[in-house]
Structure formats: structure tokens, C-alpha cells
Symmetry: C2
Subunit: 614 residues, 2 copies
């Protein structure tokens, strides 16, 4: 029996063109599950230390989880991993949509892509048939054109395509991988790794089924969510992400002008509510999901037309290209989002790298000569859109910024370093740790660099236990700006539980309770797992990722926040208080010891024994 | 709402006769649950350090758990705790039966008894009515007489009585507390603490109900066990404990002659199967339990008559007075068991203290003069029964042995120390750690001294995950005599899960799966707890008990096994190999660090923060 899992991993070597299908035991899958669990396992086991992430020695892994492709809300996800060209450490990014489900239907839990093809190729997978095909005609094409040509060549509309645009080809260090035009594995430069392998696309067609151990029970649970989704997540269901931006501005959570400021009076003009009223042409969904939180936007007139095939901006994108670049024109932000999809660029890193450049420019550390005459001031819409394209093409100033803000600051001079808002080289997302201090700890210790998917319960607003974390033992609220033992405990438990989603692979936005997630795994696999076992699966995966980073030379010294986030904002709610470096160090002391890492942030051998890691 | 819990704790001070009823929040109960959770919380918080356990400063706590009194198999249990006069550390013992359920029905989760009465008293609890009553007429009486007098005096048969016999009154350091003639809180000398307070009995009558949040779901689960109990635990259900003694003898698990030997050819004559065929008059049950594992034996003729009102011997008793004292006469063992109930003595400590004395005697370290002419050789039935009575009366050699084997060896001279088979002063149960090495670690680190309820999965015999621990993440079998990292991990997870039973309070012998136990808690309380939260509840309780011991001066140096258990047996399966002291030290190094204790075995402040212990 192999419910949930296919027990088959596809291994493709682009160098010698060897294609293997590898099987593992049920016990293997129960230990590592999928997503981060599989990726961290294989990267740690198979990569040589200290390789160049853009060399042929890197491996690119697409991994589904046990629930990928199960007909239940949130289960349309998979992860993509490799050594990150942005951070030099563990790289992993998740995407929703339909691609992962298709891979499972084709009969595989994961694909491990090795080596580098001499010429551009794409991978064609149709059930048992796996071919490395010529992609010369695709090279240089944007995402939509790439899809159209492949559909034409394969004479099939019912295929799922993971592909890169020029950003990936040109090795932009934060290039993303786009699935079916708008489902993005955005962070950490997985698109650049794909580009470095001369791999334009991974095309999947699957005719099989994902076998479910208890289909009726799963269906009952799925229907429960359909009936309750509006009650549970009305705002997300109605507007998608980005409907709380006014609150974020008031409280100080919203980055303004490269995280420097806290006041953005026209915040309402770039919110998800305004999208709904203006540029929205509806909401779409990932596979089998009742939440339907994916915005689709269309701008058909004016200076910036936006093609709805590329979806619409999430909150992260709205803030990164909006308030964070001093821009309050929604259509410009939608265009920026569309350009990132066309070129396959991560919107967070792109936005924050541009805001970095804007602050450098305003401080005279980036000159008109360097920008080829572009006035890169905060708020310059045209300049921002132009620079996105330059990054995607690695032209002019874009060639420097394509390196990410950390490397760019090294090129532009040490005075620019304090404008580079990143952790381990990955740009900081749109939740300000000066307000959310648990989130700050999360940014600092995340194996992928700054990552916002760790700690959504940085605070709790009432004495009721939130339904989606009931059962984790968090019984009391902790203030949002606290970073003491109770917050660290909350972060440890909640971030471990949330990170599990990256191994399942299940969407964090679907409001399943702890018990419901456990039930989903059991209904899919036929196991009798528990929240305890799942917490350990998550811990195991994150410790493997940590070990990968340790081997690459990372340790405690790298678990830090950038200078900018340790200073108060120049105005707004957080202009008088901030997270402090010494408080973060204290928090690390406690957190490391609490989770079984030594003072340098290295997992103790006893912790590894406890997680059954040899 | 207060499903499961009564949210009321009764506090009775025998010194000033004050009676208080204290309320706590739902959050308090969710954090500490009951049993060990409550006992360790109150003992650590309220006892002065370094008090004499038999002084008025000790407190005796009877504590139910959330599931006590719920109509489901295994839920008829409660715990009794105090500073132990046997170990000088955290003392706690559990009992089945009906008493705990009655206390819940009377409206209380726990009773905290403080101070010392000047004269013998008993406590009368009938719902809201709580009285400290004169027990002068009861003092000196055995258990049955005590019960009859109280029933007469209160004109009630439908009461539940926790009482002590002469053993408790005489402060035998391993005196037990007997509930309703045959449900025993045996270990750690809780009966002596009760005796030191001049408290003869705690009599309870409750007319209320235990409110269940989801009674229909609970009933469905209860009925499932009724239907499946024979399939799941056929042997236990049919014979009670003690049906595997032949295997235990073959493998070396069975103690013979004070743990010295491994061969006991007539093992079959003292097994539960033989009881079934000979002295059994049926099987009885605890409250609401389908397992019905309680033997009732009767011997109405011959030299040793055994009164069936006192129940029958468990495996621990069969071995402690049987093979461990070189005795293969079942009726004698049944009589020994009955005597222990009459006098309120722990059968394990009594048996092992007598086997200690027998070995001393055979080695000339205990003389006929000291025994008043009793030939205390291994196998001397009459002598054994006589000495039990002497212990219960603290007469002659019994007065020395009533101190337990550790203190007795100090009295009898240092040469006798190697015959004292105890950890922290508490005698070792009937599972030999030379075979079961995880069990050995368990004996060493248990807060109560040697205790056998920690680690029933010292090995797993197949590659299937046993149903009752599926969901704890143990995926592979570990050899029984292994004490490496995999065994330590298994011990950590399984012992934490098993110890939870002491906080729930649920019987470890009921074959509920991990998921079913979680469901029971949720159906009873209306919470949505998980195995993760429950593991943390268990860890919290055990860490509180550990902190209590640390305050009393215990640390790593006390987490050891007695010399006898570090030597091979003189014959039988374990005559060539044994657990070694240095292997145990290595295992402690790993175990301590794995569970968040420092090298001295003290919980780190970060561990306490993680468990939300202030």
C-alpha cells in the first residue's frame, strides 16, 4: 500500500542524461514526509560542501508532500529546493497551484535534477515517460510565451509547466520559478539554479491518481471547510492577502521607504480592498482549495497595461513595491507584479533590492551615471518599473541589483550596507520585526534567511486560544513586542507547527486546526500519526536544513537582523522603540538552548539523536 | 463550564482543623491536569525544603485527573503523593478502583492534607460536608476491620474508604494506602505519611456527577473497548498480570533470590495461569473498566487461608514473594499478598526487603539472634510470612526491615549494602534491567526511585509499530539489551507518554492507542488537545517532580542502579552479560542533554521556560 505517497523519486542528470526512478520505504516517508523534509535530507546527503550554487554541482529538487494532490483545501502545494545562490545556504521555496498535484498523478513524490545541460533543455514528464528535450527555441522567452510554445509543441493544453523567464536564465540571484504563469516558488533564487542548469521548464502530465486511504472521511473534512471557510477566513476569502494594510500602517508593521519610515498616509489606495473595487477581475484558487485567495487583476488602459494571466499581487508584493518604494499607485504595483512574473523574479527581493537602491540614490551613494540617468527616488513609478526590467535582463544598474541587496551593497561601497535590509542575503519580507519581535527572531534563525512564514501568532489578542493553534499548549497571550521566554516558547512551538506545512505540503493560509491537519495526514496516508509526531517531523526537517547551513559555514553570527531593523523608524508608531541587538542575542541564547542547539547555534548530537538523525 | 474537572481542591489542616475549598482556573487545570501534575505542583510550591517526611510539615495529597470517573476503561484511577519517607524525595503512587471516582462525584479534584492530628482521626467527606472525625476506635485495626467499623459508624455501605493498617500507623517506610480493601497506592510509603498524621482513613461519599463534554462520543469509544478488549489484551483480560513468567524466566527478566540468580525451574507453579486453575475465584474490575484484570483469590483450607476480600497478587507480588524469595508455593504468595493488604504494606518493597534479609542471613550478616530464631533462608515460606507480620507490627527484625532495605543495610553493616536492591531507597520492581536496559535507565532516573511503569516498550518484537505507541515517531525496533541513542530516544518518548497516565489519571494497562487517549481527554473536557500538548503536560509534571528532588539534594549521583544489578546473574540467561555502570553513565549523559537537563541532571532554565514553569 502507498496511500498519499507514490514511493517513487525521479532523478534526472542533465549532464549525462541519465534518468532514474528510485524507491524508498514507507518508513522513509514517515520520517521525512516531503517538501522540506525530503529536500533537506537529499541536499545534506548528496551535495558537496562549499560548492558554487550556480555550478553544475548544485541539485534542484522539486518535492511534493503526503497531502499534495489530496482533494482538500490547501493541499495543492509543493516545494522547490537547492543550495541558494542568494544566501549560499539552504534554499527552499513553496508554490501553490496545480503543478505538484500533476507530478503526484504522474507517479512521483519528487524530482532531483542534477548537473548542467550543455544546451537549453526542458524536462518532459508524462507518467512513466521522462525525456530531456531541446529548449533552444524557448530560451530568452518570457513565461507566457514559454508556456504557449510548449503547449503548441506538445499539442497539449492539459499540462502543468514550471518554468523560468529571462531572470532565471540570466542568473538573477533571486529569480523565481513560475508554475503555470502565476504560482510562484519565489524566494531564495531557485529560478537562478534552474537557469544555471540550462533548464527552461519542467513540464508534467499525469494520468494517475493520488490514492487516499480514507477517501470518505477526507471528503467530509473537505466539505466542512467548504462550508466554513467564509466564517473562518472571511477577509482572506473575499480579498486575498493585503486587507489589513491600514492596521499594519498604524501599528508600524508596514515597511515604508526601505523600512526607514512608519507613516504612509495613502495606504488605503494600495490595499486589497481597493484592488477589489478597481482592478480585480475575480478570485482564483489553487488545486481543490475553498479559500480561493488568489487575486486576478487586469489593467487594460492607461500607461501600464496588466495582463490577467499573470494573476495579481499578494500583500508582500503590494507592500514591497508600494509603501516600501514610496509608491501609492495600485496599477504600477500590479504592473511590477506582472513584470516579476514575466521575468521570473521574486517580488519581495526585487522590491526590497530596489528600495535599497532608492535609498542609496537619495543618499548620493548611487549616481545618475550608475543608473544610466534613471532618477531612482522613492516614489518614482516609472523608474521602479524600468529597474525591474533591467534586473530581469541584467542590464545596466539591473546587473548589480540582480545580485541582491547584500552583494550590491558590497559593489556600491560600505556606506550602502546599512540600507541593505536582508538576513543571510535574503531580503526581509513585509512584516516589521520592530513591532513583531517573535517574527524578528524568526527572520534571524530561519534556514533560508529572512522568511515570514514562521510565526503568525506573534501575539494573541484575546484570552481564547486561537482555534488553529489549540493543542500546542499555548494558553496565554504574549504581547507583540515581547521577546522574553514566553514569546520564545510561543515562537518555538508555533513556528515548528507552521514549518510543518513545508513538509506536508499544506498551505498555511488554510484555517485547519491542529487536529484537522493531523486528521488530513491520517486520512490520506492511513497512518495513525499525531501532532507530536508531526512536530518532530517538522523539527527534523528544520534541523537538517540547519545542519546544511552549518556545513556551509553559517552559525550564530549569521542569525542577526540588519542594522536598519535595529534602529527605530524615523516616524510613525515605532519611532521611539525598537528591537535591540542585545535583546536578540539574549533571545538566541534562550532559543538555542530550548531547542537543543549549542551556544554557536549548532544542533547538539543529543538533539540529532532525539530526532533520529544519524 | 467545567467538564471533567470539578475545579475545586479540598484543603484540610489536621493541626488547626481548618477546612478550605480552593478554586483554580481552567487554564491551571489545562496546564497541570491532575495526579502527578497537581501533586508535583503543590509539593514543590508548598513544602519547606528538607523537612522530615514523617513530620507534620509534610503534606499528603490525593489527586484525581481529568478522566477519573469518566465511564471509560482505565479511568478509575487517582494518585497519592507526599515527600516520601522511603526515598526522602518526591513520592507518588497510583491506585485503581472506585475511590477516585467517588471523590470526583463528591465535587473535588484533589485533597491536600496538612499538619498532624493530635489524636487518631479519619476524614469524612460527603459532597459539601467535610468533617475530621475521631478514629480512636479504629487505631490498630487491620483494613477489613477498619472498613467494617466505618461502615457501621456511618451506617453506609456505599462509601469509599482509603485507609491504612498497622503498617501505616507504625510508620513502616514502605506502607501503602489501601482503597476499599484491595486497590493499593503501594509505593513510596504514602501510608506512613498518612500514619504520621494520625489519619486512619479518608472516607468519601459523592452524590454528584462527573460532567462529560461529549458523552455520546465517549460512550462510543468506551463500547469500542468493551468489544475489542479480548482481542487486544486477551492474556491480561483472562489472567491478569503474571501470565508471562515462564518467558521472563527464560529471558532473564525474572528476579530469583534477591536478583542474584536467573534460574527458577518451578516458575510455572506461581504463574497467573496456575492461579486461574487453582486459587482463583474470578476476575474483578476497577470503575468502568472492560479489561477486568484484577485477580480475586481464595484459599479456604490448609495452613494458610486467604480471604478473597483482599483481592489477589499481581505479577510484581508473585515474583517479589515468589522467585525473588525462592518460594514456589502459590498459596504462600497469596497469603503474603493478603498480609500486605491487611497491614497496608507495599508488596514490592516488602518482598525485596525480605529477600535482602534472606541474602544477609545466608551470608551470616543477619544472625538467628537478630531474627529471634527465624531461619530466614531463601525458600522458607513460614519465615517469610512471619517476617511480613513483624514488619507490619514493627516488631523484632521487622522493626529494622520496616525501614526499607537501604536503611536496614546501614543498620546491619556495610557488608550488607550489596544485597540492598533499590534506587534512591525504593526497592527495585520485578523487571530486571540487566535484560531490559531502557528499564534500567528508567529505574535510575525516575523521580520516585525504582519504578517499573515507565518503559514497557523496552524492545519491539516486530517491524510493525505497536498500536498503543503509534504516533510517537518510533519507527524501528531497538534490541532489548541496547542502551544507545536509539534506545534512549525510545525511552524518552515512550516513558514520557506512559508517565502521562499518572497525570490523566488513566490506567497504563488499558490498551488505548495514543490517538484514543487524546480523544478521551477531549471528549471528557471539551478541549481540543493533542498528543503534543499531552506530552508537554507529562514532561512538565516530571520536571516539577525532578525539581522537588533537586531541592532535596538529589542529582546525577543518585540516578544509579544498585551494585547487584550491575553484576551478571550467577546462573541463567544473564550469567555472562549485564548492564555496566559506565554504559549507564554514558546513557545518562545523552538522556539528560536530550531532555534539557544539565550534566548534573538538573533541568536547565530554558527547559523550564519551554514547559512554562516559572
Amino acid at each position: 500500500m502507498s496511500f498519499g505517497f507514490k514511493k517513487k523519486i525521479l532523478r534526472v542528470n542533465l549532464e549525462n542524461q541519465k534518468i532514474n526512478k528510485e524507491e524508498n520505504t514507507e518508513g522513509f516517508y514517515r520520517k521525512y514526509f516531503g517538501g522540506r523534509g525530503l529536500i533537506s535530507y537529499f541536499l545534506l546527503r548528496e551535495l558537496e560542501p562549499n560548492i558554487d550554487p550556480l555550478s553544475s554541482k548544485n541539485k534542484l529538487i522539486f518535492a511534493c508532500g503526503p497531502v499534495t494532490g489530496a482533494s482538500v483545501s490547501g493541499a495543492g502545494r509543493h516545494s522547490v529546493g537547492a543550495k541558494s545562490p542568494l544566501t549560499g545556504g539552504y534554499g527552499e521555496s513553496e508554490a501553490g497551484g496545480f503543478w505538484g498535484t500533476e507530478l503526484k498523478k504522474a507517479g512521483y513524490d519528487a524530482i532531483i535534477i542534477e548537473g548542467r545541460s550543455e544546451k537549453p533543455v526542458y524536462l518532459w514528464i508524462c507518467d512513466d515517460t521522462v525525456e530531456i528535450r531541446n529548449a533552444s527555441s524557448l530560451w530568452g522567452k518570457q513565461i507566457l510565451q514559454t508556456q504557449e510554445i510548449i503547449q503548441d509543441e506538445t499539442k497539449s493544453q492539459s499540462i502543468r509547466i514550471a518554468s523560468i523567464g529571462p531572470g532565471g536564465e540570466k542568473l538573477v540571484r533571486f529569480a523565481s520559478i513560475i508554475h503555470d504563469l502565476r504560482h510562484v516558488a519565489g524566494r531564495g533564487g531557485m529560478g537562478a539554479v534552474m537557469g544555471s542548469k540550462n533548464l527552461k521548464a519542467v513540464v508534467v502530465k499525469g494520468t494517475g491518481k493520488v490514492k487516499i486511504a480514507k477517501p470518505k472521511k477526507l471528503q467530509t473534512l473537505a466539505m466542512w471547510m467548504v462550508k466554513n471557510v467564509d466564517r473562518l477566513v472571511h477577509t482572506l476569502h473575499t480579498y486575498g492577502t493585503g486587507a489589513a494594510m491600514d492596521v499594519y500602517e498604524t501599528t508600524g508593521n508596514l515597511p515604508v521607504n526601505n523600512f526607514r519610515e512608519g507613516v504612509f498616509p495613502s495606504v488605503d489606495s494600495i490595499s486589497a480592498q481597493t484592488i477589489k473595487k478597481t482592478v480585480s477581475v475575480g478570485m482564483e484558487t489553487c488545486f481543490a482549495c475553498a479559500v480561493r485567495c488568489k487575486k486576478i487583476v487586469k489593467v487594460s488602459d492607461g500607461r501600464w497595461k496588466v495582463d490577467p494571466v499573470y494573476g495579481g499581487p499578494e500583500y508582500e508584493t503590494l507592500a514591497a513595491f508600494g509603501s516600501n518604494c514610496g509608491i501609492d499607485d495600485l496599477k504600477v504595483i500590479c504592473k511590477a507584479n506582472e513584470l516579476c512574473q514575466r521575468y521570473s523574479l521574486d517580488t519581495i527581493s526585487t522590491g526590497v533590492t530596489i528600495s535599497f537602491a532608492m535609498e542609496c540614490f537619495e543618499n548620493g551613494l548611487l549616481t545618475l551615471a550608475q543608473t544610466d540617468g534613471i532618477n531612482l527616488n522613492f516614489g518614482n513609478k516609472k523608474a521602479m518599473l524600468k529597474v525591474i526590467e533591467l534586473i530581469g535582463q541584467r542590464k545596466g544598474i539591473g546587473d548589480i541589483l540582480a545580485e541582491g541587496s547584500k552583494r550590491a551593497s558590497k559593489i556600491l561601497g560600505s556606506k550602502t550596507e546599512r540600507f541593505s535590509v536582508q538576513v543571510k542575503g535574503q531580503e526581509v519580507p513585509m512584516h516589521d520585526p520592530r513591532l513583531r519581535r517573535g517574527q524578528g527572531l524568526g527572520y534571524a534563525v530561519s534556514p533560508t534567511g529572512a522568511d515570514h512564514m514562521h510565526n503568525i501568532y506573534d501575539t494573541m489578542y484575546s484570552h481564547n486560544i486561537p482555534r488553529d493553534i489549540e493543542g500546542l499548549g499555548i494558553l496565554e497571550p504574549v504581547p507583540i513586542d515581547d521577546l522574553g521566554p514566553k514569546k520564545i516558547r510561543l515562537f518555538h512551538y508555533v513556528s515548528t507547527w507552521n514549518s510543518l506545512d513545508n513538509s506536508l505540503c499544506l498551505c498555511t493560509f488554510t484555517p485547519w486546526s491542529v487536529r484537522q491537519k493531523v486528521a488530513i495526514v491520517n486520512y490520506v496516508t492511513g497512518w495513525k500519526t499525531t501532532a507530536f509526531e508531526l512536530m518532530k517531523v517538522s523539527e527534523r526537517a528544520t534541523n537538517l536544513a540547519r545542519l546544511f547551513n552549518i556545513r556551509e559555514g553559517f552559525d550564530r553570527k549569521d542569525d542577526v537582523l540588519p542594522t536598519r531593523l535595529l534602529e527605530p523608524k524615523v516616524n510613525g508608531a515605532l519611532s521611539t522603540s525598537s528591537i535591540k541587538a542585545k535583546d536578540l542575542e539574549k533571545a538566541k541564547d534562550i532559543y538555542y538552548k530550548m531547542i537543543g542547539w549549542n551556544k554557536k547555534g549548532i544542533p547538539t548530537s543529543e538533539k540529532l539523536m532525539e530526532l533520529d538523525i544519524a
